[in-house]
């Protein structure tokens, strides 16, 4: 078992963290472009029995 899975991460989380670190150490001219790929806006609303529950939850 890999150390990151032992820490409770799955592969996607692990690779996203790795990608974030790589973006952070890029040269400044590349960094501004790469930082655009570093943002998300998606919001999630779980639905229970056909009604949205607790809006704005992550």
């Amino acid at each position: 078992m890999s150390y990151w899975r032992a820490a409770g991460l799955n592969y996607v989380n692990y690779s996203n963290i790795a990608a974030k670190i790589v973006r952070r150490v890029l040269k400044p001219e590349l960094q501004s472009n790469a930082s655009k790929r570093d943002e998300t806006h998606v919001k999630f609303t779980p639905w229970i029995k056909g009604k949205p529950a607790k809006p704005g939850q992550q």
Binding site: N10, V12, A19, V42, F44, T45, K51
Partner: protein, 297 residues
């Protein structure tokens, strides 16, 4: 201001002139207003077209980069022969609808919703199939009939091009829902003028490990497969989101182009009617003046 002057105009004209005169005068005004609003609408649709053309160019460029993600996973599914074993009625199905928050783009979202509606209508009412709506549009379209099936709604999609981080967030949400058999419904971008609603399966680790031709691939053990399965979900989501964003923009471009064309046609017709009516009014007034003068002599 126009709105307020219009009714009073009509009223005082009614008092001053006879029926025929009054109507043509009012229509002249009405046609003018109509013409103005149609011209404004045309301006809006034209600029929307320009905006979506620029966005489309970007989406297409980004899609080209995102394609390997999805194609790779699809190739793996195909080469290893990993398919869902459908023994009887599968319970706990999950359907992911890839749409966006934005409308005015032809039938892209409707097609996705229609595919899902067809699927759900074939099922037993207590099958409990879950629907994950990515984008407000699919929610709005499915809410009325199948609100019980909606499990999670993701919004704020489509304002900006989707990133891999978006896809992985959605993937993390998917992991939390337990399902036996899943699939993604999305619009595959074919060319500027066409797209096709398609689906890709979301396979579980078990199905992938049980694939008949897994020997094609080297050094695969359970932990590698587990990681790969997690990655496939995110990668497929990223790929489908990009595909659907691209189809959406191209479809919006066509829709807005058509709208501008239709508005242009309408403007032509309205201008013609406007000029005719104006001419008729002028002629009538001239006749009235001349005949009035003749009566006085």
């Amino acid at each position: 201001m126009m709105m307020f002057t219009k009714p009073t105009m009509v009223v005082c004209l009614k008092g001053a002139f006879t029926g025929q005169q009054n109507r043509s005068m009012a229509t002249l005004k009405q046609i003018q207003m109509r013409l103005k609003s149609v011209t404004n609408i045309q301006k809006i649709t034209q600029s929307m077209k320009m905006v979506s053309a620029a966005k489309y160019a970007r989406a297409e460029r980004e899609l080209r980069q995102a394609r390997p993600y999805g194609e790779g996973v699809k190739a793996f599914f195909e080469k290893s022969g990993a398919t869902e074993t459908l023994e009887g009625a599968v319970e706990n199905k999950l359907i992911v609808a890839i749409t966006s928050d934005r409308g005015l783009c032809g039938a892209v979202h409707t097609n996705v919703a229609k595919t899902i509606r067809n699927e759900l209508s074939l099922e037993a009412p207590d099958a409990g199939t879950k629907v994950f709506c990515v984008g407000d549009k699919s929610r709005a379209l499915l809410q009325r009939l199948y609100s019980d099936n909606i499990a999670v709604v993701a919004n704020e999609v489509g304002r900006k091009p989707p990133t891999f981080l978006d896809a992985s967030k959605v993937a993390n949400q998917l992991v939390q829902l337990d399902y036996n058999s899943g699939k993604i419904i999305y619009n595959r971008f074919k060319s500027v003028v066409s797209y096709q609603t398609e689906e890709v399966p979301l396979l579980s680790v078990k199905t992938m490990l049980a694939a008949p031709k897994l020997q094609t691939y080297d050094s695969i053990d359970e932990s590698v497969m587990e990681s790969y399965q997690e990655f496939t979900v995110a990668a497929l989501l990223y790929y489908t989101m990009k595909q659907s964003a691209c189809s959406e923009q191209s479809s919006r471009m066509t829709a807005m182009d058509n709208a501008s064309k239709n508005a242009g046609e309408m403007i032509g017709k309205l201008t013609l009617t406007f000029n005719r009516t104006r001419q008729a009014v002028i002629t009538r007034e001239l006749i009235e003046i001349i005949s009035g003068a003749a009566a006085l002599e």
